[in-house]
Amino acid sequence: MSSLQFDIAHLLAGSLVLASFMLLYQDRLYALLNVYALHAGVLALSVAWQAYVQAAPHLYVTALIALVFKAIIIPVALHRIIRRLGIHREIENVIGIGLTMMAGIGLVALSMVVMLRVTPGADALAREDLAFALSVVLLGLLIMVTRRNAVSQVVGFMSLENGLVLAATGAKGMPLVVEISVAFSVLIAFIVIGIFLFRIRERFDSVDVQALDRFRGERR
């Protein structure tokens, strides 16, 4: 593999991490969804580049799935949901942006240390790729933890899945079946969570999950 190919793969994976960081501090739902569409687009580019580098044409299908489903259909669908729920003007109070960003930087550092330590014998591209993928997964989890709105939790969960797809395509020789199943699992999770959103909305007039906690008679 030439150094240019490696550098481009590195750049695309790094952009995915950057997009995750952008997701972290979006406090408006529309902005969050737009950044998520960007996130999925970068993923599609990255997967396509991997397909080219590894000369694995089936990865193009994965890239296409990522582009169509994740970058277009799901954000559009979530836009519609937000409009129907009438929460597009809501501003989420994220736990201080600075603090979240610091935590995110810590997570990226952690995943670098872990990955470089446990995969010394692996292919250099796979190593870097896995380190970035783990960062994206951890950042997705961080988004889910710091948000209270169910829609943003869904977005966090899907950016986490993007990290998984990045990891799966970075490893050479992963069969297509697995990638399709990963993509579909995201789709199914999205549908399930979407239905839950409407259910929560019908019952509590809010998609703030704190309403659920109040309903359970929370002691805090």
Partner: protein
């Protein structure tokens, strides 16, 4: 033969769903108990024929159930045949008793389905030949007996008993699971493979400790006995008889099977552990029994005492076998097995009697009974036989097995190890003390409940029990006498068991003149139950006829001397607590932290003076209560995890992931 045994078990299992249907018919319980009687009697005869077969064949069978790569292995050898006899003799007697007694059950739907299943579970335990089948059958036996314990679930006391029982049974099964896990580490779960393997000494020692905990908690050795006096009395009386008389023996079987059969040659310290558990169990069990007022609870505590005697016998057998004196080991082992059989007889008999009294009066408290010998003469006679037998008085069977145990104790100076030389006589002292207390305990039980004047109206209006119950009691009483005057027959029947487990047998008994039994050699000691019986019978008849001939035989009732107060109230009689007061004062102040509080009203007050006795179960306070407190505290803390928000759960997952990654990274 083994196919007959397995088919009988299958029949008993099939009777369980039939019990659900039958429980809604008025004559249903009689039909079900009759069927159980037939099956258990057939199984008892089959097992007896196998035990008496001079070729001593070992039969085995494998069924394609259970773990797919293992199957269910079953085996019928001398040991399992002997325990099958004990289980099914007890089961048949209990079924016969329940033919009459079961008709008074107010909720038969809670008893009938579980009763045959419980019998099937116990039989499967002794037939199982692999660890998986053994544990499944063991747990099945525990669960079905638990269902029977809580069958009268309206009483809060029974629910608590069931709870404690379930906890202790789970603990016992868990510990046995660990023991089998250690045993199977080199061999697999099949008992044949475990027998052929050679575990290291340390591993075998750990298995012994675990089995003592697991089987001991089921048998009721101190300090794991706490559930037994709660659970046994809570069940219906025929089930109490099975639990006390038979199920504790299944636990003894588990101990014998693993320690004597599956493990290699014993080491001397195993016997030390077993003896130090057995001796105190015997003494403490009977001391607890002496302090009780509830008849069924007295009997349950007395079971603990007898388990102590059996475990002492097993410990002696281990000690002598480890030191190469296998002819003494055979004596001690046979004594223990004979006591297993004897205790199953008289404990079942006594529980039947208690059930008959409970049914006739509605009372289990001795202080509410009295004078029952006039209202229930036949029950009273059968109970008298049971009390004499369990007090180890000749010519009944209890004496024989305890005497044989003491013969083995008297041979302890032949052991080379000094530790055992010193420990065994001490354990013998404890056993002798227990035997004396047992006599006192049953004098109290019989005297307070059956003699004297009735203390309450229910006792005064009691009626004799039905003929099936009486038949069961008299059959067991007759067996107690037969086993007491012809013990040689029983000892010879146990020879193949002893041969298989300790590698030697007691001298052949049946050829000796006058049916004497000889533990080792005639020059040392011998006992002749028949002569003692004839002597007692002759002297008794002669004395009675002499008194009736020479003195007036008119029945004359006169007021007893009552300290000058002509008070006709029957409560001024000796009570259960006043009978045991001397023993309570000597031993109870230390063992039970007993205190007597006298409340004297001021001189002008018309209030009566009161005497209160406070007893504490120190084992419960020191062992069980702290554990319960710790677990309660921990669960209270952990319980808050049940009420977190979704985000906090996510945060917990996230945090755990980060911590794990940090562990990998650093």
């Amino acid at each position: 033969m083994i196919s007959v045994a397995l088919w009988s078990v299958a029949l008993l299992l099939a009777l369980a769903p039939v019990g659900i249907v039958l429980s809604s018919y008025p004559r249903g319980s009689a039909v079900l108990y009759g069927a159980c009687l037939v099956v258990t009697a057939a199984l008892c005869v089959t097992a007896l024929l196998h035990l008496l077969d001079s070729a001593h064949p070992v039969l085995s069978a494998t069924l394609p159930i259970g773990l797919p790569w293992l199957g269910a292995h079953f085996r019928l050898d001398a040991l399992s045949a002997f325990f099958l006899v004990v289980i099914n003799l007890g089961g048949a007697a209990a079924s016969l008793f329940a033919l009459g007694y079961g008709a008074h059950e107010e909720s038969p739907g809670r008893v009938l389905p579980f009763y045959p299943a419980y019998l099937a579970g116990m039989n499967t335990v002794v037939l199982a030949n692999d660890a998986f089948s053994f544990l499944v059958a063991w747990e099945f036996m525990s669960l079905t007996s638990w269902a029977l314990v809580v069958s009268h679930h309206r009483e809060a006391e029974n629910i608590r008993a069931g709870y404690v029982y379930l906890l202790m049974a789970s603990f016992g099964t868990l510990v046995l699971l660990l023991a089998f896990g250690l045993l199977a580490s080199g061999a697999g779960y099949d008992f044949d493979a475990i027998r052929a393997s050679h575990p290291s000494a340390a591993l075998a020692g750990m298995v012994v400790i675990l089995v003592l905990l697991g089987a001991g908690s089921k048998a009721g050795v101190v300090p794991l006995h706490a559930w037994l006096p709660l659970a046994h009395p809570a069940a219906p009386s025929h089930v109490s008889a099975l639990m006390s008389g038979v199920m504790t023996k299944v636990a003894v079987y588990g101990f014998v099977r693993i320690v004597f059969d599956l493990l290699p040659e014993p080491e001397w310290w195993w016997s030390m552990v077993v003896l130090l558990v057995g001796g105190p169990t015997a003494t403490l069990g009977v001391l607890y029994a002496l302090m009780q007022r509830d008849i069924k609870r007295v009997l349950a505590y007395s079971t603990i005492e007898n388990i102590g005697i059996i475990f002492t016998g097993l410990g002696l057998a281990l000690a002598f076998k480890a030191q190469g004196l296998d002819w003494v080991a055979a004596l001690a082992f046979t004594a223990a097995m004979l006591h297993v059989f004897n205790h199953a007889l008289f404990k079942s008999l006594l529980f039947f009697g208690a059930g008959a009294v409970l049914e006739a009066t509605g009372a289990r408290d001795m202080e509410k009974l009295g004078g029952l010998i006039h209202r229930m003469p036949r029950t009273a006679f059968a109970m008298l036989v049971g009390c004499v037998a369990i007090s180890a008085l000749p010519p009944f069977n209890g004496f024989v097995s305890e005497w044989l145990t003491f013969q083995a104790i008297l041979l302890s100076p032949q052991l080379p190890s000094w530790g055992l030389k010193l420990a065994i006589p001490a354990v013998g002292g404890l056993l002798a003390l227990a035997a004396a207390f047992a006599a006192a305990c049953f004098v109290k039980l019989y005297g307070i409940s059956f003699l004297g004047r009735p203390r309450t109206d229910v006792a005064a209006s009691a009626h004799e029990t039905d003929r099936f119950s009486l038949a069961a009691m008299f059959a067991l009483a007759a067996l107690c006498l037969v086993a007491g005057i012809l013990p040689g027959l029983f000892i010879d029947a146990l020879a193949p068991v002893s041969k298989a487990m300790v590698g030697n047998v007691m001298p052949h008994q049946t050829g000796l003149e006058w049916l004497t039994i000889v533990p080792i050699a005639e020059s040392r000691s011998s006992y002749n139950g028949l002569l003692v019986f004839l002597f007692v019978a002759l002297c008794g008849t002669a004395a009675a006829s002499a008194i009736h001939r020479l003195a007036s035989d008119r029945l004359r009732r006169a007021p007893a001397w009552d300290c000058g107060y002509p008070d006709p109230d029957p409560t001024i009689q000796y009570s259960a607590s006043s009978f045991s007061q001397p023993i309570r004062r000597v031993f109870g102040s230390v063992i039970f932290a007993a205190r007597e509080i006298g409340e004297m009203p001021p001189p002008s007050s018309p209030l009566p003076a009161r005497l209160k006795v406070e007893l504490h179960d120190l084992i419960w306070d020191a062992l069980y209560a702290p554990i319960a407190t710790i677990i309660g505290f921990a669960t209270e803390r952990i319980n808050t995890l049940q009420f977190l928000t979704i985000r906090r759960y996510l945060t917990l997952v996230f945090g755990a992931l980060i911590v794990l990654l940090l562990v990998v990274a650093l």
